[in-house]
């Protein structure tokens, strides 16, 4: 009898402790922990570095505090989908983060999103352009800042059509590349183009000489590409080496400045879609400030990935402030209401798929590159008005996202 009473007492005591612990964490005045998942090594390392610098800059500009509490950032690697997914789980279980900003590769993003949905922790993706992320795989806890592949391709196509009729595709062999093929093929007929060849290249391919020989043989008028990071840099270099730079124009989406800075002015050419460019005369005053801060700190201008990391973190911090809470559901609701009016066209996360609705910028490599960093001329945005922008991002039926209840 005595043992059962004491056992009951022990259980009651343990329950009391658990409740007390829960209550203590609910009104925690400790640091607000946020996780970052960006590449630290591999072909995406330069991208990851600039993303992290952007997110870090946003934290600094917020005085390293949110809701009056200090911000604690933990940065884990994004080497491949499995490890990225594990790292996200680690951030949630061990570091007890309130949200995660990260994911540059669509493959890692898709893996991390499932963790976000299961653990109910908000995830903001600054990269990852594959449509299914805010399409058929969408979930209530995931948000994305980069324009989708279809939006970027629609912006690029008119310029591709100017260059000729015969198109050769050189895309990476994973979700992002497959999305480029799908979207482009649908658009080819509209602009009167013909596909003369396609090569889906495995990620981390260092040597493209054999692919270049194939392309040369097919004699296309223009190449539509989607190689990423270090792979793209390798290709550009070898493309130039084999005398092809000035022979066949190259067009691609979702590229970033470091892809070109890594190979130098000699090998850079083509027409591209990217989220942002530091030397765009239409940048807002807040952005110009950010550029100046970055320049002072790192002695070079920020790449578009910096902007992406910066805006994703800003959206998160501003939403936490707006929600006056670090509760996941409150953050999600605040992100759905978040709006930025600093640029010409206001941008926001669409509430029914969490896609950021904002035009991308169309750029062309300068004929003469004289500055160490300034490689591009900005042509224009992929859409010019708010109405046009919302239209290019597609309607519910096209996107195919059914988002769950919170």
């Amino acid at each position: 009898m005595r043992s059962s009473i004491s056992r009951r007492a022990a259980v009651a005591g343990a329950a009391a402790l658990v409740v007390a612990g829960r209550m203590a964490s609910a009104e925690d005045t400790g640091p607000v922990r946020i996780g970052l998942i960006y590449s630290k090594q591999g072909p995406g390392a330069a991208i990851g570095e600039f993303l992290q610098r952007g997110s870090e800059l946003a934290v600094e500009q917020a005085g390293r505090k949110v809701l009056g509490r200090p911000i604690e950032i933990t940065w884990l690697d994004e080497p491949n989908p499995q490890v990225s997914q594990q790292n996200m789980q680690r951030l949630i279980d061990e570091n007890k983060v309130v949200a995660v900003v990260g994911g540059n590769y669509s493959s890692s993003a898709l893996a991390m999103m499932s963790v976000a949905a299961r653990e109910k922790i908000p995830l903001i993706l600054p990269g990852a352009a594959a449509s299914e992320i805010t399409g058929k795989n969408c979930n209530r806890y995931t948000f994305r800042t980069q324009a989708t592949v279809p939006v970027q391709m629609r912006g690029l196509m008119p310029y591709v059509a100017e260059l000729g009729k015969n198109v050769y595709f050189l895309t990476p062999s994973y979700a992002f590349g497959q999305d480029i093929l799908r979207s482009s093929r649908a658009l080819l007929k509209d602009v009167g183009l013909i596909e003369v060849g396609v090569d889906e290249v495995p990620l981390n391919t260092p040597d493209y000489s054999s692919y270049i020989l194939k392309i040369r043989q097919a004699k296309p008028d223009v190449i539509i590409g989607g190689l990423v990071g270090g792979d793209f840099s390798n290709f550009l270099k070898q493309w130039n080496e084999m005398g092809m730079r000035d022979r066949i124009p190259y067009a691609a989406v979702a590229v970033t400045d470091t892809d070109f800075w890594d190979v130098g002015a000699q090998a850079s050419a083509g027409i591209y879609i990217k989220p942002w460019y530091y030397n765009n005369p239409k940048n807002s005053a807040v952005e110009k400030n950010m550029i100046a801060d970055f320049q002072k700190k790192y002695n070079q201008p920020p790449s578009d990935k910096t902007w992406s990391g910066w805006i994703a973190m800003r959206a998160l911090l501003e939403s936490i402030e707006g929600a006056k809470s670090t509760d996941a559901k409150a953050i999600v609701t605040a992100l759905e209401r978040w709006r930025n009016t600093e640029e010409e066209i206001p941008f926001f996360f669409r509430d029914w798929d969490h896609q950021m609705v904002r035009p991308a910028v169309i750029v062309r490599v300068k004929k003469q590159i004289t500055d160490k960093w300034d490689y591009f001329d900005v042509i224009k945005n992929t859409s010019q008005t708010e109405v046009e922008t919302i239209k290019t991002f597609g309607d519910k039926e096209e996107i195919g996202c059914t988002i769950a209840q919170l």
């Binding site: 260092p206 054999s210 470091t258």
Partner: protein
């Protein structure tokens, strides 16, 4: 069709020749030291970076200093770390050298940053060569020439010089070599340095082709292991034949089925090892069996 095949095969041979150079150093290290050097790719990357740095400081001719510099670094690493692995089980050398590889890559990132370094072929070798159906860049022809010269030099060194004989004898029967009064530890240090210097030569030659970035080691170390497995551990001849085979198979796969290109060398390895488990020219090493 014949045109493109000829070009692809020629291209594959050039690619293969780079793989041969990377693999030969690995094969020598294993054959003569019994150590599986997973950090071989990291020395390849180090060679590229030191070469780039020499170019930045002193111009093109100074690039030739990179392999000896990396060789010296390799000798230091051998004296501090690698010699503790001799005679121990192979798994230990794999784990230690894997950790070394990560350390070297992180050091490279720390010193030079994570971004790539623009590095282009020298102006002398810019441009392409077109002979009928064959298209090849001048720089790749230069790589072919340089690699062939390096491999011939290495082979001559091993086959004809007294030092080469000592190296080969030391791998067969280290006790006897020591009994003959030869300072074996110094020989082994030199061998490891040689392996690293060869990796660095490959790194310097590959630097204008592939982006000079901390992750370039990954693009080198896996093909190196595959080539050594196919050719036979410790076999110079095997590394040459296997390297060229891997290069040509990869190029032809890209021509006909590009998404299988990355896997093609592993398929080749699988096929060869099924027929000849020790590789094409793998020899019996009493020490390891």
């Amino acid at each position: 069709m014949l045109d493109i095949l000829v070009s692809q095969i020629a291209n594959g041979l050039v690619l293969g020749v780079i793989y041969v150079l990377i693999a030969v150093g690995l094969s020598i290290t294993f054959g003569l030291l019994g150590v599986i050097n997973f950090a071989h790719g990291a020395f390849f990357a180090l060679g590229a970076y030191v070469g780039w740095q020499m170019f930045q400081l002193f111009g093109w001719p100074a690039v030739i200093l990179a392999p000896p510099v990396v060789g010296l670094i390799g000798m230091a690493v051998e004296m501090i770390l690698i010699r503790r692995l001799y005679g121990k089980e192979p798994l230990l050398s794999l784990i230690v050298t894997f950790a070394l590889a990560l350390l070297i890559e992180a050091t490279i990132r720390y010193i030079w940053g994570a971004e790539g370094k623009p590095f282009n072929p020298p102006p002398l070798l810019a441009g392409i060569v077109e002979i009928g159906p064959l298209l090849i860049t001048k720089y790749r022809v230069g790589v072919l020439v340089a690699t062939t010269a390096t491999l011939l030099g290495l082979w001559a060194f091993l086959a004809w010089t007294p030092y080469g004989r000592i190296l080969r004898a030391g791998s067969r029967d280290p006790e006897m070599v020591e009994l003959l009064g030869i300072n074996l530890p110094r020989v082994l240090t030199a061998v490891f340095g040689l392996g690293c210097a060869l990796a660095a030569v490959a790194g310097v030659l590959a630097a204008p082709l592939w982006t000079v970035s901390p992750s370039m080691a990954a693009g080198a170390v896996m093909p190196a292991f595959v080539v050594v497995a196919i050719g036979g551990l410790g076999s110079f001849r095997g590394a040459v034949v296997a390297g060229l085979a891997v290069g040509v198979v990869t190029s032809l796969t890209i021509q006909f089925k590009p998404d299988a290109a990355a896997a093609s060398m592993y398929a080749l390895m699988f096929a060869i090892l099924l027929l000849r488990p020790r590789g094409l020219f793998g020899e019996r090493w009493e020490r390891f069996e």
